[in-house]
């Protein structure tokens, strides 16, 4: 057998250095925000842990993919978005759904393939999105949604709306042609879109060295796009970088590429034991668990983090009961909705829990 990759040593060159994690005060997050970020990450993790358990119990059909250990990236980035800023999550980004306000029961029902799940059992695992709340359902093909996000941004710009779109994608996804078409298009048209590269050191079993010679964050300059690298396990750092990128986008400064450095803490999916990752590497990253870090930060500020955890536990337990009670979908309905037969609805407004949002809505139809 080929030995497991020593991910730390093999990493392609990186010129950009990691932003430092903020200390005990924060210019843009008040204490409620910082507590809320913990709550959102805990909810995200609880949903995925419960999903995995349901999968192991044989209650989830198909495969199971999740982002446990990477919660800070999706939660932190989405937390910076306004209600009118849609987001395109991929498979590690349950936090984006959670921040936007997707119901936990809807997500668990989604795993279970129930009629009350977000996609009503039509779609599997994480291939869903509550677009009424600004979450766009992903397709599996990587990273097609970057192009869709670019298109939303184009729409905003054409109508003069002060909004932006955000798309997540992994290190592996950067190798595909659509990545380049989106980067170039967004840059040359200076569109209000934010690209969040989740560098979790792996694309399935493939280490970075077999994907690229230079870290893709360094490619941004070649498109004329600013880029920044942040600690993807520090929810506040990710928030900060995204907040800045969003202001740039809203102010007509065009797109930004944010690299969030993190680690996939388990197999690609539940079927994968990730034998190709050395235990030492995992142990080192375990020390950087984003939830533990945020909890420590808050504890030091006197926040009762156990209370937050208890809240989440109770909420997810309720949601689980709700999801398990949902009926399975009705096979007689499969043909419904192949075509849209009426005036289309469009992407709606999601939650925007950050305290820093003023009355900055773009003033659209339902603002």
């Amino acid at each position: 057998m080929t030995p497991p990759h020593d991910l730390e040593h093999e990493a392609p060159t990186r010129a950009v250095s990691l932003q430092a994690a903020p200390g005990s005060s924060h210019d843009h997050l008040d204490l409620d925000d910082r507590r809320r970020l913990l709550h959102l990450m805990l909810t995200t993790r609880a949903i995925e842990e419960r999903g995995l358990l349901l999968y192991k119990q044989g209650k989830v059909p198909g495969s199971f993919y999740d982002g446990r250990g990477q919660e800070a990236t999706a939660v932190g980035a989405t937390y910076a978005l306004g209600a009118d800023d849609p987001v395109c999550p991929l498979i590690r980004d349950m936090g984006a759904h959670v921040v936007k306000g997707t119901s936990t029961a809807g997500i668990l029902g989604q795993y279970l393939g129930r009629a009350g799940g977000v996609s009503g059992g039509r779609e599997g695992n994480v291939h869903f999105g509550d677009w009424h709340r600004g979450v766009i359902p992903m397709v599996s093909m990587l990273p097609d949604m970057m192009v869709v996000a670019t298109g939303m941004a184009m729409g905003f710009r054409m109508r003069g709306e002060r909004r932006c779109a955000l798309s997540f994608f992994g290190d592996g996804a950067t190798s595909r042609g659509d990545w380049h078409e989106a980067m170039n298009w967004a840059a040359v048209q200076q569109l209000p879109v934010i690209f969040v590269l989740e560098n979790n050191q792996l694309a399935y079993s493939t280490p970075l060295t077999q994907q690229f010679r230079v870290n893709p964050v360094e490619r941004a300059a070649g498109y004329g796009m600013p880029a920044v690298t942040v600690d993807g396990n520090d929810v506040e750092a990710v928030f900060d970088a995204t907040r800045e990128a969003r202001l740039r986008a809203l102010d007509g400064g065009g797109p930004t590429l944010i690299e969030a450095v993190t680690m996939r803490m388990h197999g690609h999916g539940a079927h994968d034991d990730a034998a190709y990752v050395s235990p030492e590497v995992l142990a080192a990253w375990q020390e950087k668990d984003p939830i533990v870090r945020q909890a420590q930060r808050l504890s030091a500020l006197g926040v009762d983090v156990d209370a937050v955890a208890d809240e989440v536990k109770a909420e997810v337990a309720d949601a689980l009961a709700e999801a398990l009670a949902m009926p399975v979908p009705d096979p007689a309905t499969i043909l419904d909705g192949l075509y849209c037969e009426s005036e289309p609805q469009i992407v709606g407004r999601g939650d925007a829990p950050w305290s820093g949002h003023g009355d900055e809505a773009w003033g659209g139809a339902d603002a």
């Binding site: 359902p137 093909m141 729409g155 298009w185 075509y339």
Partner: protein, 320 residues
């Protein structure tokens, strides 16, 4: 009624719809000041500006994908592929992103993708393809193919207003050769088949440029030949097709695309399953040979269906 060419009718439809609905905008390579490789968008940038008549980088996946993105936030994009052949580069975004979105989630993707398709212009293997069958096999897409200037306008207006992704097949050989009366002002042509010429002995089914070839091939046959123009390939108007076949009992399906897996083969399969009792002869098909479309006129002519081959198949069937 004014007489327009097929491409003038397309230009008029785009112009009128952009005036009527400010959500409508155009995207494609060289469609702005240049007016497009075939001049379908000529003059539109002068009236609507570069934001609504957008010259894009050469990036077909992005043209389709950004169209979807803009559509789900309320725009009505109309994309042009410079030649239909290049749609292969945006194939994934069409079949996986645009086609499936509404069924998966209830979110509609009202985009129109205009494809200048077809042979007969010595375009060779990469400028002559008819890709419609690929898209018929991808659930959630509509596939429309006008044969006349009036339909080009009316179907394009219907396509743009349709809340679904529509693949709009324009035949290059018709752009300037097809000329006819086009109603002024606003109208929508329903996405249904049309009986172009009534008859009772034999049905010939075609779409796009082949409608004209079928009409020509059968005009002085000593029989009553009905010609049906499908106009919309997906969803297929099986009702009109089956009614005609049941009436005439004999049928020929003509298709300019490569024979294997062509749209016409699907139409034939539907007939063979659902109108079998009414058939008095085999479901005949005439289509392009299963090869890339050759460049040299002598080779291309031998590859594509023509009036001679259609006529011969009709005579066979009539004698059957």
């Amino acid at each position: 009624m004014p007489e327009l060419t097929y491409i003038e009718a397309i230009n008029e439809a785009l112009r009128e719809e952009m005036r009527r609905d400010d959500r409508v905008f155009l995207m494609g390579e060289d469609i702005g000041a240049y007016g497009g490789a075939f001049k379908a968008t000529q003059g539109l940038i002068d009236e609507f500006g570069a934001e609504r008549v957008r010259d894009t980088p050469i990036a077909e996946a992005a043209i389709i994908g950004t169209a979807v993105g803009s559509a789900i936030v309320g725009m009505r994009p109309v994309c042009e592929m410079q030649f239909a052949d290049f749609v292969s580069c945006g194939f994934d975004q069409i079949v996986n992103v645009a086609g499936k979105l509404h069924w998966r989630s209830g979110l509609a993707a009202p985009i129109t993708v205009r494809l200048p398709a077809g042979g007969g212009v010595s375009g060779g293997p990469f400028h002559s393809q008819n890709p419609e069958a690929w898209f018929m096999h991808a659930p959630g897409l509509k596939v429309v193919a006008p044969s006349t200037p009036a339909d080009a306008k009316g179907l394009l207006l219907a396509a743009i207003r349709d809340p679904n992704p529509v693949i709009f097949i324009e035949h290059k050989a018709l752009y300037r050769r097809a000329r006819g009366e086009v109603p002024a002002g606003d109208y929508e042509t329903p996405l249904r088949a049309r009986v172009v010429r009534e008859g009772s002995d034999l049905t010939v089914i075609a779409y796009g440029a082949m409608v004209h070839t079928a009409l020509e091939a059968t005009q002085d046959l000593d029989a009553s030949v009905e010609v049906v123009d499908l106009r919309c390939l997906a969803p297929l108007d099986t009702e009109t097709v089956l009614a005609s076949v049941r009436k005439c009992s004999k049928v020929l399906v003509v298709d300019e695309a490569n024979e294997v897996g062509a749209a016409g083969a699907y139409v034939a399969a539907v007939i063979a399953e659902r109108a079998f009792d009414d058939l008095d002869g085999p479901v005949r098909r005439v289509a392009a040979a299963q090869i890339p479309i050759p460049f040299a006129p002598q080779l291309e002519a031998a590859t594509l269906p023509d009036a001679g081959r259609i006529r011969e198949a009709c005579l066979d069937l009539l004698e059957y």
